[in-house]
Amino acid sequence: MAPSRKAPVGLAPGEEALIAVLLADSFNQRFRPITLERPKVLLPLVGVPLLDYTLEWLASNNVAEVHVICCAHAEQVKQHLEAAGWLQERASLTVKVIVSTTCKSAGEALREIDVKDMIKSDFVLVSGDVVSNMDLGSAVRAHRARREKNKNALMTMVMKAGTTPAQRRRLGDHSLLVAMEPHTKRLLRYDEVEAGKPLPTQAIIDAHFWGETDAVEIRTDLADTYIYICAPEVLMLFSDNFDFQNVRKDFVTGVLSEEELGQQLHVHELHREYAACVLNARSYDAISRDVLQRWTFPFVPDTNLLPIGGASGSSNFGLGRQFKYKEHSVKLGRKARIGHSTCIGAGTVIDDGAEVAQSVIGRNCHIGKDAVVVGSYLLEGVRIHNGAQVSHSLLCDGVVVKEDATVCPGSILSFKVVVGQGQVIEPLTSLSMCRQLQQSASLSDDELEYAMAVTASPPSEAAVGRSPEASGPGAADQAAAAVSDGDIGEDGGQYNASVVGPDGAGHQWLPHDVDPYGLAAAAARFSIAPPPPGPPSREDDLSEEDESTAAAAEEAAQDAAAADPETSFKREVAETFLRCVHDGFDQDLAVIELNGLKIAEHRDFADCARYILTTMLTLCLPAAPRAKAEYRSLFADTAPDTATPAGKTELLTRLQQLLKTWAPLLQKFLRSEDDQVDLLLTLEEFCGEEGVFEGTGEQGGLFSAVFAKVLQLLYDADVIEEDAFFKWADEKAHAEAEDRVFLAKAADFIKWLREAEEEEESDDEDDEDNDED
């Protein structure tokens, strides 16, 4: 079983030896509850643990050294490596195990490696659940050539090209939108759209990419294979950015968003070779079929390349017509019908009249008379009793399905679950001997695991199995799951007969994946159950017109906004101010925030003040259509009718309230009389909906009816002083008639001010006179 053959792929002898880092944990929960008892990498795919596919593939590419990082179920992984002979000294491949049970994400695992300082050269980063037959050599050579020229070419991502939407649906994976330079294959953009989530109607690509290259290729046919060729600097980057968890979500996005640093990622496209990653039950199903249909050659059952441990020793599969694989010691009943794309392990007995199609049956299974197994995966020692039906489900070691029971599509039955006689397991059910705990909501994932270990059988395994979870599901979702789960928690140790039947055994697990699109939909998407046939309805055409025109209008507006620095500065100030109001910041903090903005944008105090004021004014009115949703609550609900005196009063009262709180802030930004005059000029623009206030939907015009009163309020709040008013009035007196509209409105107020001042002066004089007296 040792891979001693010299493969025609991989690196030529003269080249530098290659190191691989293999993550023996996928840091997610998609395979729960199975992964409570066995790590995903040890889950057999067509009879062989996933990890062996990956290791064998690395060995066939002449990789010299593989560092296997074990997190969850580290002992089991280690035992397996030992048993399968990977740890023995052999000429071509050295496997080193790193146990690090505290890691909860790929990022942490990589930081751990960086700390250990073991890797000094380029390496292949691969997940332990990758099935591939690609030639690493060409990708590595391309990577090294790029590194020669540019030290910043950090990583080469291997992607499978030419996938169709149907294929992607079958893998149940993200949809991927990739933008790259067509010649250099430099990655410019990497967008994952979560599976099941509708794609946006438009892909928005930054135009500055075209400042560096004349052509940008946008691809929707690529699928990530989770094989990355990395420079050692990648590890350093993970250490530097201690919040990087996920390679794609954090690292790739992070590097691409910080272009200034010059670091680059590249894409290696696979066209004829195979590579895929078992992410969930759906892709487990899809990849199993690919193996059966020989896309992964030489990693197919009948080459018997891959080691199968256990009592029966190495495998001896043979291939029949229609992709039927069978080991020698299979006993078939005379009338048993075996359909195409089937693989049956040694020691399995299939009785008369049973029907097996498109399924993988592990070793030592027993399928009773007239039982039907379609599209399902039976691991070792599964017993299907007479007349039972199993379709499109995954049944782990030791599962028993009793007479005439039915297992509906999409179900996952974990180790040793028993389905009672005549019982029907509903579609998309997960069953396990471990119990999903009610109080899980209050527990972190670690504690959940621990609690599980205490209550659930077999404790020895679960105790090791601190399955680390990637930035786990939100507490709320877990709570919801746990509450609905209540009946299971309460029956304390007893199995729910309505689920598994009176003579069955197993607890139901409810999905608690974070998924805003409905748990059922998510479960269906990732389940083994076949995906709905045909492409999803294309609703693109009828609504397209409106969308596109709307989008074009929006685009135009955005472009205009971007083109005008004044508008964008106004928006920045408004958003900062709104944030201060929204979060109830102290005024000092607000001053600091706004000052920062002022310095960053090379503005002066008056610039800040004017937009603070106008934002304040807009707060008295309903939110403008472009206001951000989070701040909408701050705005008034209705616009007062300024034609009526009541409406005017209402509007002014609102403003007065705001000024009471925020006048000191305005004062801080009005350093001189000129600043105050500027403010008045801005106020005019705002009320006239001119300049940056034109067409913003802020309805500044409503204030023009009460313009004089607004001035009065500003005067009363000590925001603007008399002298500024006079200066403004004097400046405006010589303006053209149309520019004097607001001056006319304010005429009475100015007059009143002047009179007041004269009085004051005369008072002063009087006072002086009095003093003199």
Binding site: I204, A207, H208, W210, E555, A563
Partner: protein, 455 residues
């Protein structure tokens, strides 16, 4: 320069003759010349009456001066007869056979076909990294370089490019390039005119109509006027001076003509119904197929839209081989590789370098040197005149010791002794007094100044 763009001489022939020759060669009969403003229209009409010798049926039509290209097209829609229309800008000079583009348009039964050519300089090389390029077209073609899948002109740098997702999914891989340029030559199906009528917001062919058609080419909406397809197809052609931001051109033209109707295949409809695969393909290519014609590297394609481009085009056109292909009417002097009219008189030690053109009756005194320039008819050059990279129109007088570089001198202008011009334009009939030196200036009589400015 008081001349409509269409009548500016390129290699001593009005610009419009190049377009008209191309149209005539393509077998088009009726041409509608669309001009911006009635005064331009009347000048062009005069020119046609006086000078035009071709076979085309020309009809001149003026539209309001500030019209954009699509508005102009809308205004003259009623005068367009054919089922397909060639719209071309008068400032386009190309040796690409128009009939080839038209054939491609018909074969694909396209809604619109756009002529694209490689840019001479890569926009990315002229843009700072981190900035978006300006004055480019973002173009996405299918892998056979036939179908136009994305088209967005961008005169200003933009922040982002929005690609319709359904096109991306349909196409799987789409390369969006900026190194192709649009040449203001469009072949439009008549249905476009109906789109034009129903969407008054579309004002410019390049900026609005083509992007609109490209965006909607996969919509299931039937082509407007699809039922007309069985009628006799004809090509209505229109040459159209683009009234873009440069305001460079002032004449629009259009041509209508009748082509031979293609023989229709019997039972075509039945086949379309029964061959589901074919029907699907039809669907995938869209009801409003927008095609592209990408010019090969060895073809010439240039637009004299700016002063600089005008000078450049002038020089390039008199490249001997190209001149032949474009049908420039002048005698080639094979020995010196330039075009000298027989009646040209040259003084002692006067040289005219290769790649120059000198028109009928022009005289040059002693020790003149002419390089990479085009001189019109009946010009009079004194001695010791140096002319480099310049265009002199008819009847220009240049006195002793003048130096001209990168300049355009309009007809009947008079440069007195020792005038030095660099990057200048001189209006018609203007007298530049002796000894003056000008750089990057527009010299014209005050009244002409507004209309004459090229840029």
């Amino acid at each position: 320069m008081n001349l409509p763009l269409a009548l500016l001489p390129v290699a001593n022939q009005p610009l419009i003759t190049y377009s008209l020759r191309a149209l005539e060669a393509a077998g088009i009969v009726d041409v509608l010349v669309v001009c911006l403003g009635e005064s331009t229209a009347s000048k062009i009409s005069q020119w046609i009456v006086k000078e035009y010798r071709g076979k085309l049926h020309l009809k001149v039509k003026g539209v309001p001066e500030e019209s954009e290209s699509a508005e102009a097209l809308r205004a003259v829609a009623e005068d367009i007869i054919g089922d397909n229309i060639v719209v071309m800008s008068v400032d386009l000079i190309t040796d690409v056979r128009l009939e080839a583009i038209m054939a491609v348009h018909f074969i694909r039964s396209a809604m619109a076909t756009v002529l694209l050519s490689q840019r001479r300089t890569s926009p990315a090389s002229e843009t700072k990294p981190g900035k978006a390029p300006k004055d480019v077209e973002y173009v996405g073609l299918d892998e056979q370089q036939q179908q136009l899948l994305f088209f967005r002109p961008s005169p200003e740098p933009r922040r982002n490019i929005r690609l319709p997702m359904n096109a991306l999914l349909r196409q799987k891989r789409l390369t969006v390039r900026t190194n192709l340029q649009d040449n203001h030559l469009y072949i439009l199906n008549r249905a476009v005119l109906e789109v034009l009528q129903s969407k008054p917001s579309l004002v410019n062919i390049k900026q609005d109509i083509i992007p609109y058609l490209v965006l909607h080419q996969h919509s299931r909406k039937p082509r407007p006027g699809a039922q007309r397809a069985s009628q006799q197809p004809a090509a209505a052609t229109s040459a159209n001076g683009e009234n873009g931001q440069q305001g460079s051109s002032d004449s629009l033209e259009r041509v209508d003509s009748l082509l031979n109707p293609p023989t229709s295949v019997a039972g075509q409809d039945f086949m379309a119904l029964s061959h589901s695969a074919a029907a699907e393909e039809e669907e995938s290519r869209g009801n409003w197929y927008c095609g592209a014609f990408v010019v090969g590297k060895d073809s010439y394609c240039a637009r004299a839209a700016t002063l600089q481009a005008f000078c450049e085009v002038n020089r390039e056109v008199i490249n001997t081989e190209l001149a032949v292909r474009l049908g420039v009417q002048a005698q080639l002097n094979t020995k010196f590789d330039n075009f000298l009219h027989d009646s040209v008189q040259m003084g002692y030690k006067t040289t005219v370098a290769a790649g120059c053109m000198v028109g009928r009756g022009t005289t040059m005194a002693d020790k003149c040197s002419i390089k990479r320039s085009v001189l019109g008819a009946m010009c009079k050059l004194g001695s010791n005149v140096k002319i480099i990279n310049s265009v002199l129109m008819d009847g220009v007088q240049v006195q002793d010791g003048c130096h001209l570089q990168n300049s355009i001198v309009c007809h009947n202008a008079h440069l007195q002794e020792r005038v030095t011009l660099r990057d200048c334009q001189v209006g018609p009939g203007l007298v530049v007094s002796e000894g003056l030196e000008h750089r990057e200036e527009v010299l014209a009589k005050a009244a002409q100044r507004r209309s004459s400015e090229f840029k």
